[in-house]
C-alpha cells in the first residue's frame, strides 16, 4: 500500500481535509473517504457522466480526476445544490417533471445542468441536449430531463426575452 497524501479542499462550501492514496480518483475520495456518496460511478472511465462534479468553475467527471488534484480547489457535489432544506430549482423541476426513474444518473445531470444554466440562462433544446450529451441516462429517453432543465431555466432566470 502506498503512502497517503493529505488533501485540503473545499467541498460544498465547507473546508474538508482528507487522506488518500495518490492513485485514488476524486470520485473514490468523495465517496469512500469523505462519505459523500451522492456522486455515482457508472463506468469509471469518463463516459457516463454519473460522477460529474463541479471543480473550481468547470464540471469534470470525477472518476478521471485524482483526489490529490482537488487540493486547494473548491468542489460542488449534488449534496451541495440545495439550500438547507430548500431544494434547488433544478432539483424541484426534476421532481415535478418526473425526470428521474431509477435516479442513478440524476446527481450527474443536476450538476451538469446547473453549469449549463450558468453559461446559458435560456438554453435552447439543442443547447440543452448538446450540453447534457456526456451524461447517460438509460431510463428516461431524456425527454423529461430536457423539459425539466428548460423549466428550471425559466424558474431561475425568468422567461427568455
Amino acid at each position: 500500500m502506498s503512502v497517503k497524501v493529505q488533501v485540503q479542499t473545499t467541498i460544498n462550501n465547507e473546508p474538508v481535509e482528507f487522506l488518500c492514496e495518490p492513485r485514488q480518483s476524486l470520485l473514490e475520495c468523495l465517496r469512500d473517504i469523505v462519505g459523500l456518496t451522492g456522486t455515482k460511478e457508472g463506468c469509471g472511465d469518463g463516459n457516463c457522466g454519473s460522477c460529474t462534479v463541479k471543480l473550481g468553475d468547470r464540471i469534470v467527471t470525477s472518476c478521471l480526476v485524482l483526489g490529490v488534484e482537488a487540493a486547494g480547489e473548491s468542489i460542488t457535489t449534488v449534496e451541495g445544490l440545495a439550500h438547507g432544506s430548500t431544494l434547488h430549482p433544478l432539483q424541484k423541476a426534476f421532481l415535478d417533471h418526473a425526470a428521474l426513474q431509477c435516479g442513478i444518473c440524476t446527481p450527474g445531470f443536476l450538476i451538469a445542468a446547473d453549469a449549463l444554466l450558468q453559461k446559458h440562462p435560456h438554453p435552447t433544446e439543442e443547447q440543452t441536449r448538446f450540453w447534457l450529451s456526456n451524461n447517460l441516462c438509460r431510463c428516461t429517453g431524456y425527454d423529461k430531463i430536457v423539459r425539466a432543465v428548460q423549466a428550471a431555466a425559466i424558474e431561475i432566470n425568468g422567461a427568455a426575452q
Binding site: G38, I104, C137, R138, D143
Partner: protein
C-alpha cells in the same frame, strides 16, 4: 376505453423517494458503508472457451492486505439435475452455480473464475491478478447458426442435441392450405446482434456471513426474494438463513434479476469474517452479466386480396449464451401475437454459444421476433398498396383471438392502439424532405402476475405507512401508494411507503415483467380494503350502529361522519391500532400492446441516421401515474432505437468483446434523440380493480421494426441485420 373517475389515480404527484434521489441521500448498493467492511475483486476468463487445468491462488492469498480468496471449489457441489424454483421460471442449479464461478471449463470471455477480498478494491484487484490459472483453450462458437451446424464446438456434454438446449414448436390450422390461399407471400430472414440492458449502475453486492450462520446481503436487485432464494441455493443453505436488504437500484430492465456477485461476496465474507463488498466495473457488467440474445429469425407471411393474413411461419434461433435459456419461448409466443392468423407454424431453438449467459431485457425475446414480422408486413402492405396500419387493423388480434401457443385473448387493446396511431398528429404530418422515411410497427407483451405482499398501518394523524417488498426502479413507491390512497380516500402524500428486507415483508416477486403496479398494486389494494373494513368496525363501535358507509375518505352512519383522519385519531380507544396485510398471487394479468411511429433522415454519403420524430403509443390498461407511464414508454423507446441503430457486442473471432465500454458500446445520448411523444391508450384490464395492465416492457418491442421500416422508406433498402448502423446501411 376507461371511464371510471378517480381522485388520485391518473394524477401526477411528486414521487415519495424524490427528495432523497435529487439530493444524493438515497443509498444505492455501492453507497453502503459498514464497519470493518472489506472489498473484493473478481478474476475473469480471457478465453471464450477453455478447460481450466489448474488454479493456484497461493500468491494472492499471501499478498499483503488480502483476507480471503474463493474459487468454485469453495462452493458446495451442484447436483446434476437439481432445479431451483424462483417462482419466476426455473433454473438448473448447476447452470446458476457454474455461471457464478466457473468450474471445469470457462464458457465465455468474462466468465468469473476466482474472487479476492482485501483491505480495499485496489489491493483486491492487484491480488486477483496474481492468481495463476492454466487454461487449455478450446475452439469457440459465437452465433446460433454456427452453433447449430454439424461439427460445431460443443459447450455442454449433457445437452441431448449438441448446442440446442430446447426446441419450441407451435402449430395451428393448416399451413400449406393457408399459403395456397394467399396472393402475396413474403419471406425474410433477419439477424440481431447481442445487446445489453445498459443500466447505468453496475451490479454490486455486500454480504456478511455472521458467526451464527445468518447471511445478510445488501444488493441492487430487481427482486430481493429471488436474490435471497438464488443465493441460498448456490450456497446450499436454507432460505431462512439469508436476509436480503434491497438497496436503491440504478436500473435493471431485466438484467438485475439474476445473481452474480451475491453468493461470491457471501463466501468471501464467510472466509474473512468481515462484511465484503463487490462492485462490478463497467467492463465486468458487459462481459460478466447477461446481455440479451442475438438471434436469427425467418418469417414467411401470406396475405389474400382482402388483406387478410392466411398463413404465417416463423423459424427462430436465439443465442442463450453460455447456459440454456435464450427466451426463445416468449420470442416464439409473441412473433405473431398481434394478429389473428388461422394457419401458423412456429419453430424456435434455444442455442448455447460462447457468450455471456443471457438475461431478460424488457419483453425478453419479443423485439427480435417482432422485427421480422413487422418488416415483412410492411413489405406486404406496400405490395398491396395498403396503408401499413390499415393492413394491421384488418388482422388485429382482439378478445377471443387464439394465439398459436393455444390460449385465447381476454380483452386487449390492439385495435385501440392502431387507431390511436392512425389518428395521431404525427402519423398525419408530412415528412420534412428528401432522404426521410416514416416507419410504424406494433408489438405485444404478456406482462406477469406472481406473488406480492403489502402491509398498511394507520397512523394516529390519519396517514398510512405502506410496507412493501418491490424494489422501486421507476416510481413504483408512488404508483403503489396512489392505489392505497384511492381506496382509502386519502392523498398520495398521506401514504408513506417503505421497501423492506426479506425478513420484514411477505414474499414478493421481482420488479419485472411489468408486474409491480399490477400485482403489488393488487396486494396494496386488498390490504387497503381490509383497512377500510376494520375502520368501519371501529366507527360502528363508536356510534353503536351495525352498518357504516365509506366513500371518498369519509365514514358515515345515521347522519354522523368521520373523516379518515378523525377516525384514525380514535383507533387507540376503539380497540388499538389498525394494521393490515395482504398477499396475492393473481391471475387476471392483462397483456399490453405498444406501437411506434418514427421518422428518420439518412445521410446518403455517410449512412448516418438522424431520428427526427418519435411517437410511442401503448395500452396501459389504466395509467396510475401517467408521468411515470410516459417515462416507461420513452425509456423503452430510447432503448429500442439504440438497439436498432447502434448497439451491439462487437466480438472478435476469439470471442472477446472489443467494445466493452460506454465509449465504444454507444448508447443513445440526449443529442441522439428528439422529444419522445407519447399516447397512453387505456383499455382497462378486467383482471385488476383499477384496470392496470403494466407498461414496463411492450414499448421496446416495436422500435427495431419501426426503424427498419423507416429506413426502407428513406433509402429504398430492406436491411436484414440489426444494428442498422452506417456500415449496414451503406452495405459495407
Amino acid at each position: 376505453m376507461s371511464t371510471t373517475t378517480y381522485n388520485v389515480i391518473g394524477t401526477r404527484p411528486v414521487r415519495h423517494d424524490g427528495a432523497d434521489k435529487v439530493t444524493g441521500r438515497a443509498l444505492y448498493g455501492a453507497d453502503l458503508q459498514l464497519a470493518r467492511m472489506i472489498h473484493g475483486a473478481v478474476l475473469r476468463s480471457p478465453h471464450a472457451h477453455a478447460r481450466i487445468l489448474r488454479i493456484d491462488t497461493s500468491k494472492a492469498e499471501a499478498f499483503p492486505g488480502v483476507f480471503a480468496v474463493v474459487t468454485a471449489a469453495d462452493f458446495p457441489e451442484a447436483p446434476a439435475d437439481k432445479i431451483v424454483d424462483f417462482g419466476e421460471g426455473d433454473t438448473m442449479l448447476s447452470s446458476l452455480r457454474g455461471n457464478i464461478l466457473a468450474s471445469g471449463k470457462v464458457l465465455y470471455s468474462g466468465h468469473a473464475v476466482a474472487a479476492v477480498a482485501a483491505v480495499n478494491a485496489h489491493v483486491a484487484a492487484e491480488a486477483a491478478a496474481l492468481i495463476e490459472v492454466d487454461y487449455e483453450p478450446l475452439p469457440c462458437v459465437l452465433t446460433a447458426p454456427e452453433a447449430m451446424a454439424p461439427g460445431a464446438p460443443i459447450l455442454h456434454d449433457d445437452l441431448p442435441n449438441g448446442n440446442v438446449a430446447e426446441l419450441i414448436r407451435y402449430e395451428m390450422g393448416d399451413l400449406d392450405a393457408g399459403f395456397a390461399e394467399a396472393t402475396v407471400i413474403v419471406e425474410r430472414e433477419l439477424d440481431t446482434a447481442t445487446v445489453h440492458q445498459g443500466y447505468i449502475e453496475p451490479q454490486n453486492a455486500t454480504a456478511f456471513w455472521s458467526s451464527d450462520g445468518r447471511i445478510h446481503i445488501w444488493c441492487s436487485t430487481q427482486g430481493s426474494f429471488v436474490a435471497r432464494d438464488a443465493s441460498a441455493a448456490v450456497l446450499d443453505v436454507p432460505v431462512s438463513q439469508v436476509k436480503v436488504t434491497p438497496m436503491e437500484i440504478g436500473g435493471g430492465f431485466g438484467g438485475k434479476i439474476n445473481v452474480y456477485l451475491e453468493p461470491v461476496a457471501a463466501m468471501l465474507s464467510k472466509k474473512a469474517g468481515r462484511p465484503v463488498k463487490l462492485v462490478m466495473s463497467r467492463r465486468d457488467v458487459f462481459t460478466g452479466t447477461g446481455p440479451t440474445p442475438g438471434s436469427r429469425v425467418r418469417v414467411k407471411i401470406g396475405v389474400n386480396d382482402a388483406g387478410k393474413i392466411t398463413a404465417a411461419q416463423a423459424w427462430l434461433a436465439y443465442e442463450a449464451g453460455a447456459y440454456p435459456g435464450a427466451m426463445v419461448g416468449p420470442g416464439a409466443m409473441t412473433v405473431f401475437a398481434c394478429y389473428d392468423i388461422p394457419n401458423v407454424l412456429i419453430e424456435g431453438f434455444d442455442v448455447v454459444v460462447n457468450k455471456p449467459s443471457t438475461a431478460a431485457y424488457r419483453a425478453p425475446g419479443a423485439p427480435n421476433s417482432a422485427l421480422a414480422t413487422e418488416t415483412v408486413l410492411d413489405e406486404i402492405a406496400e405490395k398491396l398498396g395498403l396503408d401499413p396500419l390499415e393492413l394491421r387493423l384488418r388482422n388485429a388480434a382482439q378478445e377471443g383471438t387464439r394465439r398459436a401457443d393455444g390460449p385465447r385473448y381476454k380483452r386487449i387493446g390492439c385495435i385501440e392502439v392502431l387507431e390511436a396511431m392512425k389518428a395521431s398528429p404525427h402519423y398525419n404530418a408530412p415528412l420534412p424532405g428528401p432522404n426521410c422515411g416514416r416507419g410504424v410497427a406494433i408489438g405485444f407483451w404478456f406482462n406477469a402476475g406472481l406473488p406480492s405482499s403489502a402491509t398498511l398501518s394507520v397512523n394516529a394523524d390519519g396517514t398510512v405507512n405502506l410496507i412493501e417488498g418491490s424494489t422501486d426502479i421507476g416510481g413504483s413507491r408512488t404508483s403503489l401508494s396512489m392505489q392505497a390512497a384511492e381506496v382509502l380516500g386519502l392523498r398520495a402524500e398521506d401514504i408513506h411507503p417503505t421497501i423492506v428486507d426479506t425478513d420484514s415483508v411477505g414474499y414478493t416477486g421481482v420488479t419485472g415483467g411489468s408486474r409491480t403496479t399490477f400485482s403489488t398494486g393488487l396486494a396494496v389494494h386488498d390490504a387497503a380494503q381490509i383497512v377500510v373494513e376494520q375502520m368501519k368496525a371501529r366507527a360502528a363501535r363508536l356510534w353503536a350502529v351495525d352498518e357504516v358507509a365509506f366513500s371518498n375518505g369519509v365514514f358515515s352512519a345515521n347522519g354522523q361522519s368521520f373523516t379518515f383522519a378523525e377516525l384514525a385519531a380514535q383507533l387507540g380507544a376503539t380497540g388499538g391500532p389498525v394494521s393490515c396485510s395482504a398477499t396475492v398471487n393473481p391471475k387476471g394479468v392483462g397483456g399490453s400492446i405498444a406501437g411506434l411511429i418514427i421518422d428518420v433522415k439518412v445521410d446518403p454519403e455517410t449512412g448516418k441516421t438522424d431520428v427526427l420524430r418519435v411517437t410511442s403509443v401503448q395500452d396501459a390498461g389504466k395509467a396510475i401515474h401517467p408521468a411515470y407511464v410516459e417515462g416507461q414508454m420513452q425509456g423503452g423507446t430510447a432503448q429500442g432505437i439504440g438497439w436498432a441503430l447502434n448497439e451491439e457486442y462487437f466480438m472478435d473471432t476469439a470471442g472477446d468483446m472489443r467494445n466493452g465500454s460506454y465509449l465504444d458500446y454507444r448508447m443513445p445520448t440526449a443529442l441522439d434523440l428528439p422529444m419522445i411523444e407519447t399516447i397512453i391508450v387505456e383499455v382497462p384490464n378486467p383482471g385488476h380493480p383499477f384496470g392496470v395492465r403494466g407498461v414496463g416492457e411492450a414499448n421496446i418491442v416495436p422500435p427495431l421494426a419501426a426503424v427498419a421500416n423507416a429506413l426502407y422508406r428513406a433509402t429504398g433498402k430492406r436491411l436484414n441485420r440489426v444494428p442498422m448502423n452506417p456500415a449496414t446501411i451503406l452495405g459495407l
